[in-house]
């Protein structure tokens, strides 16, 4: 493999995989954040019938590896639902559900970190319950929640590399294929590592910047 074939063939091949990695991660994080909000609200609910299953959901997924669930979804979803789903859809569903458990914990701890006095004070100042939540509690919660959310996103992007096991042609899969095809794994795998760092490092930096801002504001 010379430089020209690397630049003309292998690099675009890997970058195409990186694009798919981004698409997968974006789709899974939409599911994860949406479902995570629901589960967090469920856990904070006063009714045990709602809060207990939500807690079980969070504990179960957080105590088990993503890989098990990915393979589980891959085998079980078509059998149990009767739908023939492709590997990407199955994977996105698995990653979405799995990350929802982590997002839910991020949201729950963020909301719990806001002193009850904040809401009480808003009510005492004449706001309605709804106004107090929207203008006082939520803005503070969002600030608290953003840094750990960013961390969870980084983990999610890293976990998406497991899709390669299902044969989804994202970055990791293409890296393995190109390593064997070119018989130059040193270059291919190192470049792949750098692409992953390029994808996730800016996010980590954003996370620590946000963290510092929260620390300053509180």
């Amino acid at each position: 493999m010379d430089l020209e074939s690397f630049l003309r063939v292998f690099l675009p091949f890997l970058l195409g995989g990186a694009a798919l990695t981004i698409v997968i991660s974006a789709a899974a994080s939409v599911i994860g954040i949406g479902l995570g909000l629901l589960v967090a609200a469920g856990r904070l609910s006063g009714r045990a019938l709602i809060s207990a299953p939500s807690a079980l959901f969070v504990d179960f997924f957080r105590s088990t590896p993503f890989f098990v669930h990915l393979v589980w979804f891959f085998f079980a979803l078509p059998i149990l639902t009767g739908l023939s789903l492709d590997a990407i859809t199955t994977g996105i569903a698995a990653l979405g559900v799995y990350s929802a458990a982590y997002f839910a914990e991020v949201f729950r701890t963020g909301i719990l970190a806001i002193p009850v006095g904040q809401r009480d004070a808003a009510l005492a100042a004449g706001m309605t319950d709804r106004q107090a939540v929207r203008r006082i509690v939520l803005p503070q919660a969002v600030r608290m929640v953003l840094p750990p959310m960013v961390n969870t996103l980084v983990v999610l992007v890293k976990d998406s590399s497991l899709f390669s096991v299902l044969g989804v042609a994202e970055l990791m899969y293409r890296a393995g294929a190109a390593s064997q095809f070119s018989s130059r794994p040193l270059v291919i795998m190192t470049v792949t590592g750098l692409i992953y760092i390029a994808l996730t490092y800016p996010t980590t930096v954003l996370g620590s910047v946000l963290q510092r801002q929260v620390a300053k504001a509180t």
Binding site: D59, S63, F66, V68, W72, I79, M189
Partner: protein, 222 residues
């Protein structure tokens, strides 16, 4: 929803095999942790060094390894030594090397954070009392820092235990590997994988709860 007739007998019969796999996962995680702890102390020390090139190398080490997916590292060590240098490593060795790199990076950040959280006055007092800088670090700062780091080290341990499931990709016969093989040989993937997930849960969940308890105790005592 289709009608699916569950049959757990194959999964139950495979339990000894899965437990054997679990033992491999445990040995792997323990080995990785034992090697990573001293490495992380060195890296954390380097990150706090006053010499810029040392500090920067340690920073690059932790940031790079924390952002790389484990699968990239595993695959790197799976392909590169063999295909590029003709050195064939045992799957278990590949797994240990890849995991030590990431685990030590995460631990180094934990240790550094804990050292920095100790009031500088502690060190100054120790030095004022006649200790050398090294003695102050070893006898005063580090014991307090490690105590504070303990719950976070526990958290790294738990995610390590879960992450070891990835080594099945490089053919280490861990719990996940045995589960995947069993799933396709007995044609009962749903039951076998559910079983495997439950085993991971039974092993990890109590440790998570224990950790929460330790967290509370450490917080209260401060």
């Amino acid at each position: 929803m289709l009608e699916y007739s569950w049959d757990w007998s194959a999964a139950v019969d495979g339990l000894p095999l899965l437990i054997e796999g679990l033992a491999v996962s445990f040995v792997l995680a323990l080995t990785v942790m034992t090697v990573s702890l001293p490495v992380s102390l060195i890296v954390a020390g380097a990150r706090l060094s006053t010499i810029a090139p040392i500090r920067f190398s340690a920073y690059a080490y932790t940031e790079m390894l924390r952002t790389l997916p484990l699968l990239v590292l595993l695959t790197w060590f799976f392909f590169v030594p063999g295909l590029s240098f003709g050195v064939n490593l045992e799957p278990f060795v590949i797994a240990v090397v890849a995991f030590v790199l990431t685990t030590s990076a995460f631990l180094a950040e934990v240790v550094r954070g804990s050292i920095q959280s100790i009031d500088p006055g502690q060190r100054e007092a120790a030095v004022a009392a006649g200790m050398t800088s090294w003695q102050a670090a070893r006898r005063v700062v580090l014991p307090q820092a490690l105590r504070r780091a303990l719950p976070l080290i526990g958290a790294v341990w738990i995610s390590l235990l879960k992450d070891t499931s990835l080594v099945s990709v490089v053919a280490v016969h861990d719990l996940m590997f045995e589960a995947r093989v069993l799933a396709v040989t007995v044609y009962r993937p749903i039951e076998v994988l559910t079983f495997a997930a439950l085993i991971y849960f039974v092993v990890t969940y109590p440790q998570g709860r224990l950790l929460e308890w330790v967290f509370q105790r450490v917080r209260v005592s401060e």
